[in-house]
């Protein structure tokens, strides 16, 4: 309707322009209001934030409307829309390519800016809050600029086009496409808020704990979404892509992992700042790094500089993102350098055998991990820029470095929960670690009895058992003391998250080391066996509709239920996409793929069978992490703001403390 009238595009673009203006004026109102100490001007910022948010929503709705009504007057719809795509995948096609995903990022960002403006409307006269809000407006302005300029989703397309190819076939296979990108984006964009408050704190010099406490829950919320988004991505890779793995160290996956690494270090290290007012430079740097890495990740994956499964298309968005990244990093470095003195904490870490010491070691370990992942991702670029030749840095590099780092992380998870603050004696440690250590030995014994091999996986199992023991010990003690309240709160929720992480690590170790695979040529009615299971080809199933023709084979496992791996051929893209079929149980997954070429007339089919131990533990671990994160967000023991546990800030020039 609007499309026929040709105004769908201009309406969307109008929304974006209004949003751009709203973000600009919001920034101006914050700055001028602070300068002139004019409360009325500051209060205008809430109006502008609302305006920007409404515009972003309007633009997104306009895009979805154009997609749903197949408005082919827009270039973007010509790229990813199609009359034959089912409704669900058509809806999600909006974020299947560059311009639409920037629009989704913008939607999240504008809504969050409005939320910050609304939530702190009573405190907007506080320069810290006003500066934070101004920072958010600047970020929103940048992303609005992207959608007006290089990544315009409402650009008009060639006239006379009546149908399109639809989104990438890999994005039309599974309902996860509805959840994984939005959840991931909420995680990415969510870190803008703690970053904005960090900038506010640096600029105003109010580096005490107040700004940190305000945004603690928000940082945890974003981290939780980012974690869950990454786990969902792994699940998608497993269920949809058909190569039987969950993580390929693909540049886009690395781009999502990098902010997760620094974000995880941050949410741990922040506890030291709350408790003892230390590690402030670390925390600010980690927060700045996390936000910068989300921008850098967007740059690496959208500028076409690297190609991967997710990379969309080449566009001149690269210079914009790189410039914004540069500005963020330079401004943050200058601010941290300038305020460096005020960040000096009065305390020192008394002993490495203390919780602060463990968290500091944790920071260092995670920073090294982030460095390794970043280096591996950009090293091919560096080599090409300097020596003009192409190399690849792939899985073996990352796996061989990440595995020892992961093992050290597991070790930290074993001892950190039992370490007291300030100092620990060996007697105390040996008391507290005793039963957890035996859990580790038990886990190792079970693994060896079941026939496990290899030093690295065995170490993983042993340390995993040990760390689980340490986490359970904490939970048992807490529930004994506080009943159900022993499961909520930062420490206890965190232990549940740790158990989830341990389950994932153990599952990864097991499936990476002990997967058995075989290619079987099945003749109809003749069972073949592998790995203790029999596989029988029951028949072929062919389906076709407007957008794809599929051929599936019916394979009965152990004479029971049938599983149907398939190959789909998408008519508009000429691409073949394989879909696996998985039989899951707690001990292992039997993963089937259909191998081309398939000849239904010949009564024979080639399938590939993977027997992957403990995969279900990975997804269970992911769910535990989600549950643990939610439980962490609940207040544990009630902390009052004047609780002496928070160290007062000795501001160098004033006598006040926060």
């Amino acid at each position: 309707m609007l499309g026929a009238a040709g105004i769908g595009g201009p309406i969307g673009r109008a929304f974006l322009l209004v949003g751009l203006v709203g973000a600009l004026f919001g920034f101006v109102s914050c700055v001028m209001g602070m300068r002139q100490k004019d409360e009325k001007v500051l209060r205008l910022s809430l109006r502008f934030a609302t305006l920007s948010a409404v515009s972003a929503v309007g633009a997104f709705v306009a895009m979805e409307y154009a997609m749903i009504t197949r408005d082919f007057s827009l270039d973007y719809i010509q790229k990813v829309g199609s009359r034959s795509t089912p409704a669900l995948y058509n809806f999600t096609a909006v974020w299947s390519a560059l311009e639409g995903s920037i629009l989704m990022w913008l939607l999240a960002l504008a809504l969050m800016t409005a939320w910050v403006a609304w939530r702190y409307r009573a405190k907007v006269t506080d320069p810290l809050v006003a500066t934070a809000l101004a920072t958010m407006f600047v970020t929103a302005f940048f992303f609005f600029l992207l959608t007006i300029g290089p990544a315009n989703p409402f650009a008009p397309g060639e006239s006379g086009v009546t149908d399109g190819p639809g989104p990438n076939p890999l994005l039309q296979n599974h309902i996860l496409v509805l959840f994984h990108p939005p959840i991931l984006y909420i995680g990415y964009v969510g870190f803008t808020i703690p970053f904005a408050f960090a900038i506010g704190a640096l600029v105003t010099g109010r580096l005490g704990e107040g700004w940190l406490l305000e945004t603690r829950r928000w940082a945890l919320f974003s981290w939780g979404f980012l974690t869950f988004g990454i786990v969902l991505g792994g699940w998608w890779s497993y269920e949809v892509l058909g190569w039987s793995g969950v993580w390929a160290w693909d540049p886009v996956e690395n781009a999502s992992l990098l902010p997760w690494i620094t974000g995880t270090a941050y949410i741990h290290s922040v506890l030291v700042q709350e408790r003892r007012g230390m590690l402030r430079v670390w925390n600010l740097s980690l927060l700045v790094a996390t936000f910068s890495l989300t921008i850098l990740g967007t740059f690496l994956t959208r500028s076409g500089i690297l190609n991967s499964v997710h990379a969309f298309s080449e566009s001149d968005i690269g210079p914009y993102l790189l410039t914004f990244f540069a500005i963020v990093v330079v401004v943050s470095l200058v601010l941290i350098g300038w305020r460096g003195d005020r960040l000096r904490s009065p305390g020192i870490i008394d002993s490495p055998m203390s919780r602060e010491g463990a968290f500091l070691a944790n920071n260092v370990l995670f920073s090294v991990f982030a460095f390794v992942v970043l280096l591996g991702t950009v090293f091919p670029l560096i080599v090409e820029a300097l020596q003009n030749r192409q190399i690849v840095v792939g899985e073996p590099f990352f796996d061989s470095l990440a595995t020892p780092i992961g093992i050290v992380m597991l070790f930290l998870m074993c001892i950190a929960p039992v370490l007291p603050w300030r100092k620990a004696s060996t007697e105390l440690l040996s008391q507290r670690l005793f039963w957890p250590a035996w859990c580790g030995v038990a886990a190792l014994a079970v693994a060896v009895l079941l026939g496990a091999t290899g030093l690295e996986p065995l170490l993983t199992f042993a340390l995993g058992g040990f760390a689980t023991g340490a986490a359970l010990r904490q939970l048992v003690l807490a529930t004994r003391r506080q009943k159900w309240r022993g499961l909520v709160g930062r420490a206890n929720g965190g232990m549940i998250v740790h158990i989830g992480v341990i389950m994932i690590s153990v599952a990864l170790a097991a499936s990476n080391s002990y997967t058995r695979s075989q290619e079987l040529t099945l003749a109809k009615g003749v069972p073949a066996s592998f790995g203790g299971h029999t596989f029988e080809l029951k028949g072929f199933v062919e389906e076709s509709d407007a957008r794809r023709t599929s051929i599936k084979v019916d394979v009965s496992i152990d004479g029971g239920k049938s599983y149907r791996p398939a190959i789909h051929k998408f008519t508009s893209m000429g691409q073949n996409v394989g879909t696996p079929s998985v039989k899951s149980s707690w001990s292992k997954d039997i993963y089937l793929t259909l191998e081309p070429p398939v000849k239904p007339t010949s009564d024979e089919a080639k399938i590939k069978v993977f027997i992957k131990p403990m995969m279900t533990w990975m997804w269970a671990g992911g769910i535990l992490m989600a549950i643990g994160t939610v439980l962490s967000a609940f207040p544990g023991r009630r902390r009052r703001p004047t609780d002496p546990v928070s160290a007062p800030v000795p501001s160098a020039l004033t006598g006040t403390s926060l």
Binding site: S303, A326, D341
Partner: protein
């Protein structure tokens, strides 16, 4: 020492500490700046070269059937110049260069030493290929490469690619990407002249 001197000592100590931290900040800044330079310099263009370890060496064994179910064996083409064009009917540059190949092939009928042109087809359906050639001319043999062994033997990852093999069975030239009739004619003439001169 009086108070002012003591304060000076304390100040020097804290300046030393903050100098160290600004050194660290500067170091981080330099690393990040270098990083920018690298990223700014690198570009998303296609990066391919026409080198190959096969150049100047005997061509790999190529034994297969054509779409018309005739046998094809490269070793039996000794004595003629052979041109392989790696092709796929869904590949856009292949379709774009096709008229150039047709023109080149037609010109071979009036040339002293004609070059035999063969298309190597991998990961494509017979019907699609036949339909394409029916609609766009081109009556040279199309060699099947169903398992990709010919593509791997030549190290061909992306189509289109065009290779020239001399009458002794040695690989002489590799073109990555779409070609034109003029380019092919020019290069073939050069190679033939060099070959005669040997």
């Amino acid at each position: 020492m009086n108070d002012r001197e003591n304060l000076a000592v304390v100040n020097v100590a804290s300046v030393a500490r903050s100098r160290r931290s600004s050194l660290i900040a500067a170091a981080v800044g330099v690393v990040v700046a270098l990083f920018f330079v690298v990223l700014v310099v690198s570009s998303p263009e296609d990066r391919e070269t026409a080198a190959s370890p096969l150049l100047g060496n005997p061509a790999p064994v190529v034994k297969s059937t054509t779409l018309d179910n005739a046998q094809f064996d490269l070793s039996r083409r000794r004595g003629s110049w052979v041109m392989f064009n790696f092709f796929n009917s869904t590949c856009v540059p292949c379709r774009q260069e096709h008229p150039e190949l047709v023109a080149f092939h037609e010109a071979q009928t009036s040339v002293a030493t004609p070059t035999e042109l063969y298309s190597i087809i991998n990961d494509d359906s017979d019907n699609a290929v036949r339909a394409f050639f029916d609609a766009n001319n081109g009556d040279w043999p199309k060699v099947r490469d169903d398992d990709g062994s010919i593509a791997v033997a030549f190290g061909v990852a992306k189509v289109p690619e065009t290779w020239i093999i001399d009458p002794n069975g040695f690989v002489r030239m590799r073109f990555i990407g779409a070609v034109t009739k003029d380019l092919l004619t020019e290069k073939v003439t050069e190679l033939q002249a060099a070959f005669e001169g040997m």
